[in-house]
Amino acid sequence: MTPELAGGQVIIELVYLIASVLFILSLKWMSSPTTARHGIWAGEIGMLLAICGTLLHHGIVDYRLIAIGLVLGTIIGVPLGRVAMTAVPQRTALSHAFGALCVTLVGSAEFYLRSPDISRFMMSVLSLEVILGGLTVTGSLMAAGKLQEILPQRPLTYKGQNLVNFLLLACALVIAVTLVLHPENRSLFPFMILIALTFGVLLIIPIGGADMPTVISLLNGYAGLSAAAMGFVLDSKLLIIAGALDGSSGLILSIIMSKAMNRSFTNVLFGAFGQVQTSAAAGEEARPVRSATPEEAAAILSAANKVIIVPGYGMAVAQAQHKVRELYDALTKRGVDVRFAIHPVAGRMPGHMNVLLAEADIPYDRLIEMDEINGDFPQTDVALVIGANDVTNPAARSDVSSPIYGMPILDVDKAHTVMVIKRSMNPGFAGIDNPLYYLDNTLMLFGDAKQFVGSIVRELGGGHG
C-alpha cells in the first residue's frame, strides 16, 4: 500500500466515506420513531454501496464463491429476520455470535496469511480481535441458548469460578504476548482461540435469565470492539467507524441496564453479575393479602380517571399483550386515561417491552419511561401490575437488607389503588418477597394474566355495551 492511491482505490475509499456518513445518519435518525425508518434506508444504502465498492477491489479474482456466500447468507438471514417478537432477544444474541464469528475467522485467516511478518502492534490488535471475537461467539451462543430455553436458565455457580475464569483469561493473554513477541509461533494461535471460546462459555454459565438485558448489551459492545480491531488489522476506516459505533452503542446500553439493575459498571465489565445473594429466604409469616375478582377489578378500573399499567416479562410469557390492548381500548373508550410504565429492564433485552406492546398495536406515545412517569403515581387512581415483580418492589427503596436495595423501581405503591395480577404468592425470579402485596391499598388478582385480563375486558364490555 503506497501513499499514492491508485485511481480505483480512491473511488473505493470515497464510497466507503459515503457509507460511513450514511451509517452515522442511520443511527442519528433512530432518535425518534418518526424518523427511525429513514435510518434503515440510510443503513441499507450505505451497506449496499460498501459491498459494491469492495467488489471493485482490484485484487479480487474469484467472484463465484463470493456470490455463493452472499446468497447463502441471505437464505439464512431471511428467516432470522422473521422471528416472533418474543424471540427477538435470542435472535439478537445469535446475530452477535454470527458477527463475532465473521470477525474471528477473518482475523485468524489474516494471521496465517501474514505470519511471521507481523508488526508488534498489528499482532496485539489481531490478538484483541480474535480473543474478543472468540469469547463473543460462544458467549452469545450460550446466551441465545438460555433465552431459547435450550439451556437451563438457572445460573450455574461453583466455588472458585472467578479464579478459573481469571486464570483462563490470563493464559490467553500470555499466549497473545508471546505471539506479539514471536509471531512465527503459528502453532500457538489455535490455543489462543480455543481459550477465548472456552472463556465465552464460562462467562455466561453463572448468569441467570433476569440479567440477560445486561449480558446482551455487553456482548453487543464486545462484538463492536472486535470489529473495530479488525478495522485496524485490515486498515479499513469504514470498519473502524462501524465497530466504534456498535461498540459505543453496546457500552451505553450496558451502562443503562446496569444502572437499572443497580450494579456498578466495573461489575458489568468483568462479567461479575448474576450473583444475587439468596439471603433472607422468604419471610415465613403468612401475612394477609386482599384479593379481588375480575368483576371487582373491572368496577374499580372503570371508575378510575387515571390508570397506569405496569407490564413485566411475565405478561409476554403469558402471551397477554393482545388482551392488554383490548383492556386499553375498552378503558380508553370510557374516557379513562391509560398509560404504560416501562422499566428499563422490563423484558429480556433493552427496549424489549416497548416492542412487545407496539406489536399489540398500543400507540408508542402511551409507553412512558420510568423516570418520566414515576412522579405521576401519587395522582394515579389505579396502578395495574401485570407480570412484573422486582421492578415494583418498594423494599428496593427502604429495606437496606434487601438484595435489590438501591435498584430504581416504579413507585406503584404510591398509587391510590394497586392491582397485581399474579399466579400465586410465590416470589419472583430473584426469590425476593415483595412487600407491595401486603399493603392496604393493594388488591391481588390471582390467575393467569391472559385469562384474567380477558375476564376484565368481558366485564367492561358487558356492563355498557
Binding site: 457509507a19 442511520s26 443511527l27 432518535s31 420513531p33 435510518g39 434503515i40 443503513g43 441499507e44 451497506m47 469492495t54 467488489l55 474469484d62 464463491l65 463470493i66 456466500g69 447463502l72 447468507g73 439464512i76 438471514g77 431471511v78 432470522l80 429476520g81 435472535r91 439478537t92 446475530s95 458477527g99 465473521c102 470477525v103 475467522l105 477473518v106 485467516a109 496465517y112 453487543n220 462484538a223 463492536g224 470489529a227 479488525m230 485490515l234 469504514l238 465497530g243 466504534a244 459505533l245 456498535d246 461498540g247 459505543s248 452503542s249 451505553i252 446500553l253 416501562i342 433485552m349 433493552p350 427496549g351 407496539a358 406489536e359 398495536d361 400507540p363 408508542y364 406515545d365 419511561e369
Partner: protein, 104 residues
Amino acid sequence: MNSSSNLINALFIFVLAGFIGFEVIRRVSPLLHTPLMSLTNALDAIAVVGAIVLVGEHKSTLAAVFGFIAVVAATSNIVGGFLITDRMLKMFKSSRPADKPVAK
C-alpha cells in the same frame, strides 16, 4: 508500508467515531433500544467487506474457507438485521394521526 502513520490515523478515526457514537446513541429514545441493537448489529456486519476480499483474493485455501464462512455469517446478519429492524419500526404507531374511530 508506513505503518506508524497509518496506525495514528486509525486511532484518530476510532476515537472520533467512538465520540460520535456516544453522542448519537445517547439521544436514541429508550423506546427504540431493541431496534437500535438490531440495526447496529446489521451495520456491524460491514465486516463482510473484509471477508469478501479474503474470498476474492483466494491467497490460500484456509483463507478462502474461513472467508467464505465469514461472508455467509455476516450476510445473514445484514439481511436478518435490516429485515427485523424494519418490521419492528413498522409496528410503532402514534395515537395521534386520526387513529380513533370513536363510536360515540
